[in-house]
Amino acid sequence: MYNDIESDDVLIERVKKGDPEAFNPLVERYKLPLYKVMYRMVYNRDDAEDLVEEAFIRAYRSIKKFETGRPFYAWICRIAVNNAINYLKKERRASVQPIEFAEHRLIAKKGDPVAMTRQKVLQEKIAASMAQLPEDYRTILTLRVEQGFSYDEISAILKIPRGTVMSRLARARQRLKELFKGMGVQEHEV
């Protein structure tokens, strides 16, 4: 049995030595944060879940390449994000679906404004704005703001220079600000 106390490195070493069950706590530990990243990228629950599963399987199969001591989550995130980027290129869904998602959510809720609290309306607007961001902006904002990766880690995950991380994040924030304004999200609202 494995518990939550065991560090990533200990578990990974056991997996490397041929104990697949030691991989389970790692899945438990990181499946939700990874799902959030994947969901922000593809904006579809089923696809995001599939991408998470695929990322864990890929990580397991190349676990021997993982250098113990380095952050496992950043490593698996890199695997997942690159896999999702390839998926989006293949499916060409990124440019269409988030907007559909955003419109769907807003139209669906507009019909019943009384039942929605003010906070709920705000959440819908924020989610719709996020969905309308270009996929690379959404990804980088999620990695930085939601997941808390450093610029160097994002640079490694997305395989882009650190300077590009910095400029893309600034542009993503500016673009989101514009979208918020377009949606009527007030500056003071949180």
């Binding site: 991989f23 389970n24 899945v27 629950r45 879940e49 864990f56 924020i126 996020m130």
Partner: protein, 254 residues
């Protein structure tokens, strides 16, 4: 008037990613510039909104079954593809495959039997066939039965090299008078016509047809004129013709 400080710096400052010098300069500027202070506050709120923005909840299956599914898949040993083992193996395997195929290509072994019809014009070019023309005794017998040549007059020369066939026969000692007077070269065959003739193993024309399609028409007049003529090489009236060596004569007689 809008402040000229790059937005990247504010964004980087918010993330704690500026170097010491940049940070000190920006902090000095922030103390003096209300516009940038406001902008920074706005970015902080924006980040907070990103962090609290909703996403669709994962399914129950994701919560309760993901580990099991992953374990099932990872415990299955991935199929090892030869092509993934080494890039060197690919060309080596391809070369080996080609070699095996080449070694296993069967040398021409199909024997031409008496039942086969072979395009006379192709007799010497059909390298895929191991042509075995009948034994001398059989040829002589056919020739005698057909009355083409008298006994002992057939000159039969087997192939000098394998897969080469030379069929030659001396002109019949007893030539049909009617045919004898006709000059083959004098026959008028339209230029657009193809002549197809069936000759027996001695080179004697048995049947003739003409036409410009795959299925020729029987040409009785031409056949009457040419039947019994000995031909070699396969030309009729000086023109290359499609001629068939017909080995079935003996069986047909039966």
């Amino acid at each position: 008037m809008k402040c000229e400080v790059p937005r990247e710096l504010l964004s980087g400052y918010l993330d704690g990613e500026l170097d010491r010098k940049q940070k000190a300069e920006l902090e000095k500027h922030l103390r003096e510039c209300e516009q940038c202070r406001n902008e920074l506050e706005e970015l902080k709120r924006l980040d907070q909104q990103v962090r609290t923005s909703e996403i669709e909840e994962p399914s129950r299956d994701f919560f309760f079954q993901l580990n099991r599914r992953i374990m099932q898949k990872v415990k299955k040993k991935p199929r090892v593809s030869l092509f993934r083992l080494s890039p060197i193996l690919v060309p080596v395997a391809a070369a080996a495959l080609v070699l095996i195929v080449l070694l296993n290509i069967q040398q021409p072994t199909r024997l031409v039997s008496l039942d086969d019809r072979i395009l006379y014009a192709e007799v010497e070019t059909r390298k895929d066939l191991d042509l075995q023309i009948p034994e001398l005794g059989v040829v002589e017998e056919i020739a005698r039965e057909k009355g083409v040549v008298p006994e002992g007059k057939v000159r039969y020369r087997p192939a000098a090299k394998k897969r080469e066939v030379v069929i030659a026969a001396e002109p019949p000692a007893v030539q049909d008078e009617a045919v004898g007077v006709l000059s083959v070269e004098a026959l008028q065959i339209p230029a657009d016509k193809i002549v197809r003739a069936i000759v027996d193993s001695t080179g004697r024309i048995v049947k003739v047809a003409t036409g410009n399609t795959i299925i020729p028409e029987k040409d009785t007049l031409l056949e009457n004129k040419l039947q019994g003529q000995q031909i070699s090489p396969p030309t009729v009236a000086g023109r290359r013709a499609q001629l068939y060596v017909d080995f079935t004569q003996k069986q047909e007689k039966k």
